[in-house]
Structures are given as C-alpha cells and as structure tokens.
C-alpha cells in the first residue's frame, strides 16, 4: 500500500471557537461521564455502596456514548481532516473494544483459579494454571493432533489444485461443476457432521459403510480406532474446505495470460513440463496465500469434532478448541481454559510470524 494521500483534498475549514470548544467538550466530557459511571459501579461492586445497579450495562452505555462523542468530536475539532479519520475510526474502535479489552481481561482470568459453578469466585493463583497445563497430557495430545490436522492441508492442496486445473480446462458444463464443487463450503459444519459423520457413516446401513463393505472392509467403523477416527475427521474437514482453496487457485489460474502457455507449447514443452515450469511457478504466490488462509481456518477446527466424536476415542480426534470447549462445558473451569487458550494463541502467533517471514523471504529470493 502506497503512503501519502492518493486523494488530495483542499478544503478551507473555518472552525469557529464555539465549534472547537464544543468538540473538545465532547472529546473530554464523555470519558469523564464514562469514568464516573465506571467508578460508581466499581464502588458498588467492591466497596459496598448501593447505587441500584443490577449489572454493568450502564458502563457499557457510557462507553458507547464515549465512542460516539469521540467520532463526532473529531469532525468538530479537525474539520476535513476529522472527516477522513471518521472513515477508519468506527471500525478501529469496534475492533479494539472487542478484542483488546477482552484479551487483557482474559490475561487476568488466565492467572486465576475461577470455577464459574463454585461460589468462591475468582482467586489469583499465579502460575498454577501453567504448571497444571505442563502436566496435562490431554492438552499436549490436542496440540499434537493439531500438528497432524495441519499436515493434512498438503494433500488437500494437491486435490484442490487438481480440481482447479480441471475446472480451468476447456470443458462443457463449467458452471454446473463450479456450483457443485462449491457446495460443501456453503453448508453448516454442524449439519455436515450429522449428514456425513452420523448418518452416512452409520455402521449398519449408512451408504458409506455399505460402500466400504463392498470394497472389502468387513466391519466398517469410522470412529473406533484412533488413527481411523483422526483420518475420518481430516477427510470430513477436507470435504468442507477443499472448495475454498480450489476457488482461490482457480482465480489465480484464470489470471495467467494464455500467451505464456501457448509460448511454452510452441517451444515444444509437453503438458506435464509446461505445468511444472510455467503454470506452477506462476501460481506460487496464490498458492501460498491460499494455504496460509486455509491454515488459519484449520487452526479454528472444532465444530465437527465437538458434534461428531467430542474428542474421542481417548482424545484421538481432539483439537485444542474442542478440548477447551469441553473443559468449560464439563468443569466450568474458566481460569484454566483461558490459560490454555492464551498459550495456544502465543504458539499460533509465533508459528504464523515465522511462516510468513519464511514465505516472504522465499518469494523475494525467487523473483
């Protein structure tokens, strides 16, 4: 993205003293209101005063008021410049208040012993959660599973690339095939997990089980042994998300100028060679983007695991998300669960940064 204003606006702002004062009053007055309300609520919560609040809603309303006044005040005080800020400010405020505050709050929770179903409330317990995590074989198991799930992206990528190549070929009924291939992505994972995981893989009469019987698998059971269960999960997830990579790759293929392939053909390259030496290198940037985004979605994998196996057998299909989900559902253990999630976030950020750096360096060295 280029720096410097692409759009030059010359506007004569005449901001009178009244307007300026009003703007400043809004910008500084509303946080004062917010502070007062928050203070009153804090006093009621911890110091025994009674102002008649039943929940923290008033603070929320004061915060929304503050956000609104901040936006309006920008325009009043800064004129044209403020109107530009107004484009980005609402989204920025929204994201900051919905991620940064909860994350900070989450850090507090992570270092405390807090069971929502017990009456003791929150107790600070230092690094006890970290110690517990270190000795929790199920969490490590879930992390190892994530590595396997992530590795499954590579075969998915190969299939997606093959499908995109076929769709890009000169075929009839292209629109039909495109819609048909796109369908799995549209469906809700929960419905998919019933449709495929519970019904089509039903051992007695599910069509997939019947097919397997025909192919010679005596008693098909898709979720009894750990590795089979894990592969089934990978297949179901792949079924949903292959269209996603396929479409990104297809878009990339369509952007390649036809002349390049024609030139390769004129030079006598066979189909296979022209793929490896022309198409594939050209597709590398798109491929990296597609795989990285797929990776991001893969790291959130949970819905089908929660609804089909709930992590079983013996934690073989557990993902980090589904493990933490059950940790909360079964034990209401908010403190420990949050600590696990925070550790997961740190791992993801480190891994993604390294990956993106590596991808960046690789791209720069090859072009």
């Amino acid at each position: 993205m280029s720096e410097g204003d692409l759009l030059h606006v010359v506007a004569s702002d005449n901001i009178g003293p009244t307007r300026r004062t009003l703007g400043l009053a809004l910008i500084w007055g509303s946080p004062t209101v917010l502070g007062l309300v928050a203070l009153a609520q804090t006093l009621q919560a911890w110091a025994g005063f009674d102002f008649g609040f039943t929940n923290w809603r008033p603070t929320l309303y004061a915060y929304v008021l503050y956000a609104g006044c901040l936006c309006w005040g920008q325009v009043l005080v800064k004129g044209e410049q403020g109107k530009r800020i107004l484009f980005v400010l609402p989204a920025a405020l929204f994201v900051v208040s919905l991620t940064v505050f909860p994350l900070l709050f989450g850090l507090v929770i992570a270092f405390s012993d807090w069971n929502l179903s017990s009456l003791d409330g929150r107790q600070f317990n230092g690094v006890a959660n970290l110690v517990q995590m270190w000795h929790d074989p199920f969490y490590w198991n879930a992390l190892t599973n994530m590595v396997w799930y992530v590795l499954a992206i590579l075969p998915e990528y190969v299939v997606a690339f093959a499908l995109a190549l076929m769709l890009n070929a000169d075929i009839r009924g292209q629109k039909f095939f495109r819609v048909a291939f796109l369908m799995p992505l549209m469906l809700s994972p929960v419905a998919v997990s019933w449709m495929i995981g519970k019904s089509m893989m039903e051992t007695r009469f599910g069509p997939l089980a019947n097919l397997m019987k025909h192919l010679g698998w005596e008693e098909p059971s898709f979720f009894s042994s750990p590795w089979i269960a894990k592969s089934t999960m990978m297949l179901m997830d792949a079924w949903t998300f292959i269209p996603f990579m396929m479409i990104m790759i297809l878009a990339g293929l369509q952007a390649i100028p036809k002349e390049l392939q024609e030139a390769a053909r004129v030079d006598g390259a066979s189909g296979w060679r022209s793929f490896w030496e022309v198409t594939f290198p050209l597709m590398l940037p798109v491929s990296i983007t597609a795989v990285l985004i797929r990776l991001i979605f893969k790291l959130k994998l949970a819905d089908i695991v929660i609804t089909v196996t709930s992590g079983g057998p013996g934690g073989a299909t557990d993902t980090v998300t589904s493990f933490i989900f059950r940790e909360y559902r079964d034990r209401s253990n908010v403190g420990y669960g949050t600590m696990l999630a925070m550790v997961y976030l740190v791992i993801i950020i480190v891994a993604m940064t390294l990956l993106m750096k590596a991808a960046d360096r690789y791209m720069k060295s090859s072009y």
Binding site: E3, D5, L6, L7, R57, L60, E80, K83, R84, I85, L86, F87, A91, A92, F94, L98, T99, L103, F105, G106, I109, M166, K175, F177, R178, A180, F181, L182, M186, L187, P189, V190, A191, V192, W194, M195, S199, M200, F205, G206, N210, F244, I247, M248, I249, L250, A251, V286, T289, I296, L299, A302, I306, V320, I324, V334, A341, M342, Y344, M352
Partner: protein, 305 residues
Amino acid sequence: MTTQIFRDSAADRNFRAKWWTGRVVIYGLLIFWAIVALFPIYWTMTTSFKMAPDVMKGSLVPWWDFTPKWLGWKSLGLSPGTIFEQSTVRGEFLRRFYNSVVISVSSSLLAVALGSLAAYGLSRFSYKFLWMKNADISFFFLSQLILPPVVLALPFLVLYRELALLDTQIGLILLYTLSVLPIVIWIMRDQFAGIPTELEEAAMVDGQTIWGAYLTIILPIALPGMMAALILSLVLTWNEYFFAALLTSTYANTLPVMVASQTGSQGISWWSMAALSFAAILPLIIIGIGLERFIIKGMAAGAVK
C-alpha cells in the same frame, strides 16, 4: 465413387486418440468429484422422506426402491398435512430460524458497513496513529483473522455475564461482526484499490464533500464487491456454531445449536433429523446456486493482486 485422398497421418490419429482419452479422464474425474460433493446433500434430502425400514435397508432412489413419505417433515410440523396445525416443534424451529436470520443478516450488514468505510479510508488517505501508519493499521485489522475464537470465548462469556448480554441476539451480533470484519476489509480494500481516484476528484470539484463523493459515486461502483463481502459474511455467520453454543442457552439459540442438540440424543429418528438438517442448509444451497459468482468473486479477491 469418392475415394478419400487426404488421410490423417498416424501421428494425427494417435493425437486424436490421446485427446479422447484425456476428455474421458477429465469428465470422469469431474463427475466423480461432483458426486462426492453432492451426494451427502442428496442423501439428507431423500432420508427426510424415508420411513424406518427404508433407512435400515439403505434405500437410495425414491419411487424406485422406496416410496417417499412426509414422515420427517411431519415431525417438524412442516409437511402439507401439518402446516396449518399447532406444532411446538415447528414453533421451536421457526424461532431458531428467525434468530439465525436476524443475527447473520444484521452482523453481516454491520461488518460490511464498518469494513468498507475502513477499507475506503485506508485506500485513499494516509493515517498516522501513534507509531502506526496505513500498512500497520491494515495489518492490525487483518491480523484479527488469526485470533482463534477459543481465545475470546471465555473472556466474553464472563464479560457478557456481567453485562447481561449472555443469551441475547445483540451479544452474538457483536461477536459475529468482529469475526467477519477482517474478511470484509480484505475484500473491500481490493475493490477500492481498483477504482481510480479521479472519480472522487471530479465529484469534489463539482462541490461534493468527501462523504458525499463516497456515498454517491464510489458506493454504487463498489456494490458488486460489497455484495460478495456480504454474502461471504452471511455464509460464515449462518454456519457459526462455537460462539452460539457457548453464549446462548434458551432465547438466542441459532439453527446450528438446535441441530447439534438433536444429534446428541440416542434413539434418534433419522427422518426428522434429516429434515431438520436439510431445512438448516437449504437457504445456503439456494444462495450458493443463485449467487455463486459473488462468492467466487469474494474469495478470489484476496488471491489475485
């Protein structure tokens, strides 16, 4: 009598045979994958019209190896015979359906509104906030994508409990907006970058303000892109399960939560489950068939620079 003078050489005939095998292989693979992609939907749809023996036999083709019955839809209260009668299941289903519609539509609209404003600002002006320049602000928005939902889930659970936002539509709308906002910004940034700035300059010479130019000139041009972003957000929010399962219990449940809560029970009635699943995915199937090009456009936005 005509005799053929010109013949294909051996090399050409060889080529023709190769071409035909190529065709057969490609169409074979395409049809195979189309079956892989569509069969589960077909299976669910037909199962919703089956009776118990048909399910047990594994019948596949209606009217040929089983007779369609309205059993599954009757248990949902949506068959022709029961549609005008009182039905608690239908009431429940419609309430969940309504929740899903309200939550996904309003969060997608909110995300597109906020996201396209931000994307427009970032593509036209240079900002500086503390140490952050445009590229950093863009990265800040997009980096929200890697934040796994599980990190936010428990803090939100506790916060929402204090704010009395648990089990409310507005609570889910806020979270869903947050989760699709990075994708919207990604798509819209791409869209606005392709629109020449001369358009706004001309409008402003004619006396429009920057917001006027944005609303009257730029928005109509960027509308197809916005549709793509909107539909992609709709799909993602309609299907979301994790937050809905954690943060709602009785009032604001969405359809995925209802579907999931039925799958857990033993002694499941296949036909009604199939009917419920099919009803839950039907809106998306319709969107997928009708608006496929927008979805593809939206997903392709990030791929090709």
